[in-house]
């Protein structure tokens, strides 16, 4: 049931490859699968229809002879077209020429407006700005308390007027206060509402007309189904939006709603919410979501995270060490530390294409890393640099020092030696280069 698209396409494209050429019928067979995959990913039916037509024209018209393989050619076209549709730039929040910049969060109930408002405030605070949060959700019980609590966590002031019943007045007063206090960003958290509730939609228009926000951001749940188009269209037409924040991307929804919303509104997706913790607001990269919608693994995220953790200079240093065969336990420890700083290993593995299925039930034992680190820490600096020093009694001492067994120490030394052997093989290979940024 949840077989990924890449698996299905692999099967089809293998067939295509064997035929050598990308014929119209072949493209249609592949596109039938892609259509189904997009529908399963919750991309709106009409959006899918247009998209398939677009890809079909591009794929059939394309000269496939110079491509690597017909299958790869189609995947490339599909992926490119998806990226194109999702938008090519990674947008930012437009700042007002005269502060404060007013940002208004709108959306359905439960889409994550309050949490996202706080995340955005933290984002601005980290940039050195002086944000203020405004509790303009006067509908949901305890929504104000929620924002106040979140504000305390990130040390951002929250404007709340519990006695006032009118969110328009609250917003207006809040902006006045922000000006007085020299706040440069005001984030309005409005109540969740159904896009067909005329009265509440009018209320948003009134807030908009009163405080003139610089940015109106539609907060949408990444798990939204076919209805995403209706919702986005209503908010866009009745209130007007400048951008979209897609939340709950840390789940396993394929996020087809991103494509639907983007197609209907034409507005950029500016951020994605990727966790319940307040720092989990990430920039939106169309190529990654395209891969996710297609079920192809989030390769780019993996690479970027790797690049952040692995300093390029250090990578070169490591390469030199490998070339000189001077890779020591100390280097091993450094590498492990960096690998772990990239986040839980399970997440990393999930981002590798094809690993999704293989790793589905595998739980990576992070404790194993702790063990290895402990063993290396219990070695003397000399031992770390020269493994030959480690005789039986030294290994026993290391085991005791690290709370492991001699067998554990022996295993690590053996793994280290195998690693060195592999590095020697790399060295022997002509033209061997470490993948950019990845050195472990």
């Amino acid at each position: 049931m949840f077989e990924s698209l890449s698996e299905k396409l692999d099967a089809i494209f293998n067939k295509l490859k064997s035929r050598g050429l990308l014929k119209e019928e072949d493209v249609d067979i592949a596109l039938k699968e892609i259509r189904l995959a997009l529908l399963e990913a919750d991309v709106n039916f009409k959006v899918v229809k247009d998209f398939i037509q677009y890809v079909r024209e591009r794929a059939i018209g394309k000269d496939v002879l110079d491509s690597l393989s017909p299958g790869q050619q189609v995947i490339k076209i599909v992926h490119e077209s998806l990226c194109e549709l999702l938008g090519t730039t990674n947008s930012r929040i437009q700042l007002a020429p005269n502060p404060p910049t007013i940002v208004m969060m709108i959306g359905l109930q439960g889409s994550g407006k309050t949490t996202t408002a706080a995340k955005l405030a933290r984002f601005f605070k980290k940039e050195g700005r002086r944000p203020m949060l405004v509790a303009a959700d006067l509908q949901r019980p305890a929504a104000i308390d929620q924002l106040v609590t979140l504000g305390k966590q990130i040390d951002v002031p929250v404007y709340a007027a519990k006695e006032t019943k009118d969110p328009v007045a609250v917003s207006e007063d809040a902006v006045k206060k922000a000006k007085l206090e020299g706040r440069d960003i005001v984030i309005l958290d409005t109540a969740g509402r159904l896009h067909i509730n005329e009265e509440l939609m009018n209320e948003l228009t009134r807030i908009k007309g009163t405080v003139h926000p610089q940015e109106i951001l539609l907060v949408a749940d990444a798990m939204t189904g076919q209805d995403a188009v209706n919702m986005a269209k209503s908010f866009s037409e009745k209130v007007g939006i400048d951008g979209i924040i897609l939340t709950k991307m840390d789940g396993d929804a394929r996020g087809g709603a991103a494509l639907s919303i983007r197609s209907v509104t034409g507005k950029p997706i500016k951020f994605i919410g990727a966790g319940e913790k307040i720092d989990m607001l990430e920039a939106f990269f169309p190529d990654r979501i395209a891969s996710r919608i297609l079920g192809m693994g989030d390769v780019l995220t993996l690479i970027e995270q790797a690049q952040q953790s692995f300093d390029q200079k250090e990578a070169e240093k490591l390469q030199k060490k490998i070339m000189e065969e001077s890779f020591t336990f100390e280097d091993l420890k450094d590498q492990l530390k960096k690998l772990r700083s990239m986040g839980p290993l399970e997440n990393l593995l999930g981002m590798i294409p094809g690993m999704n299925k293989a790793m589905k039930d595998v739980k990576v034992d992070e404790k194993e890393f702790v063990k290895i680190e402990a063993i290396i820490n219990s070695m003397t600096p000399e031992e770390r640099r020269n493994h030959n020093l480690m005789n039986g009694s030294r290994r026993k001492r290391i085991a005791m020092g690290s709370g492991t067994t001699t067998a554990d120490v022996n295993r690590l030394v053996k793994q280290y030696l195998e690693m060195k052997k592999m590095m020697k093989m790399f060295k022997g290979k002509k033209g061997f280069r470490l993948p950019k940024g990845m050195s472990f």
Partner: protein, 301 residues
């Protein structure tokens, strides 16, 4: 407004979207494969899901080729019969056995768990049962306060600990307190959690285990709250929550929007968990018993 009217008005958008569109599609047209393709489109845009859609259209195709279907009226009848049969029999939420009847409410973030609990408490109280609600969402900021407001509104007892405390111990205390006070129904709120987060799913398993320590037969009902706006991912949610704690029923919320809630067909077909309740509005009384026959009737009248 009577119950059926309320349900119909809540569902009117679903109705409009499925039935009227089917009628439009079939107007002045012979019933052929192309017409059924259009029905497929209508079903898919209702989030019914590729698999359940294939079953429905396959059924219609058979009827067409066997010559049983001629008019749009025939199609509507066949469609309605098929959809009713997919939804299965009437299985409302019924309190049974030795009190307290413990309901554990679970689901992903933002589906409307706390609101559903408030509405459910109000309903049981109006039926003459005593209710205790447990503030088991100790994670989200102000979740406890939100439930406290519902407790004040409905007159239900509330058991709460501090924010950040162990939700399993809140659940345990709630069941113990209900037994001591002779309360009929305990409704336990839990923090919204994405089904992909295994530590959080483990926490849920623990809550379930600890409840059983206080009362071996409890929880008698584990209610998964599903947002009707959710697409195919709701099926994943149902699968994984079911694996973790064994879901006994589903509450489908936010049916008053334009979302069609078609995912319940896929959930019923795939996992067989009955939909017990539907949320058709923001009012306290807008939580209704889900009745497959009436649901389908409201769709096709």
């Amino acid at each position: 407004m009577g119950f059926l009217d309320k349900l119909k008005s809540g569902l009117s958008r679903t109705r409009k979207n499925i039935v009227e569109r089917v009628e439009t599609v079939l107007l002045n047209r012979t019933i052929d494969d192309a017409a059924i393709d259009d029905i497929e489109e209508i079903l898919i845009t209702s989030d019914i899901g590729a698999e359940a859609t294939a079953e429905i259209t396959g059924f219609l195709r058979t009827k067409v080729s066997s010559g049983e279907i001629h008019t749009s009226r025939d199609v509507n009848n066949a469609l309605r019969a098929k959809m009713v049969s997919l939804l299965g029999t009437h299985q409302p939420l019924v309190i049974f056995g030795e009190p307290p009847f413990v309901i554990l409410v679970v689901g992903v973030n933002g589906v409307g768990k706390t609101t559903t609990i408030g509405k459910l408490a109000s309903r049981f109280i109006s039926e003459g049962s005593s209710v205790l609600i447990a503030a088991g969402d100790t994670f989200r900021a102000a979740a406890i306060e939100q439930l406290e407001i519902w407790s004040e509104r409905t007159g239900a007892d509330i058991i709460k600990h501090q924010s950040g405390s162990d939700p399993a111990s809140v659940a345990f205390d709630a069941v113990e307190a209900a037994r001591a006070r002779g309360i009929d129904v305990v409704i336990i709120d839990t923090a919204g959690r994405l089904h992909t987060k295994s530590p959080l799913m483990d926490e849920l398993k623990k809550i379930n285990r600890v409840i059983k320590k206080a009362m071996p037969d409890a929880p008698q009902e584990i209610l998964l709250v599903v947002d009707a706006t959710t697409g195919q991912n709701a099926l994943r949610q149902a699968h994984i929550f079911n694996e973790a704690v064994g879901i006994t029923g589903i509450a489908l919320t936010k049916l008053d929007g334009t979302a069609k809630g078609g995912i319940i067909f896929a959930i019923k077909k795939d996992i067989g968990i009955p939909v017990r309740l539907i949320g058709v509005g923001e009012g306290v009384d807008d939580l209704k018993d889900f009745n497959p026959a009436e649901f389908a009737a409201a769709l096709f009248e």
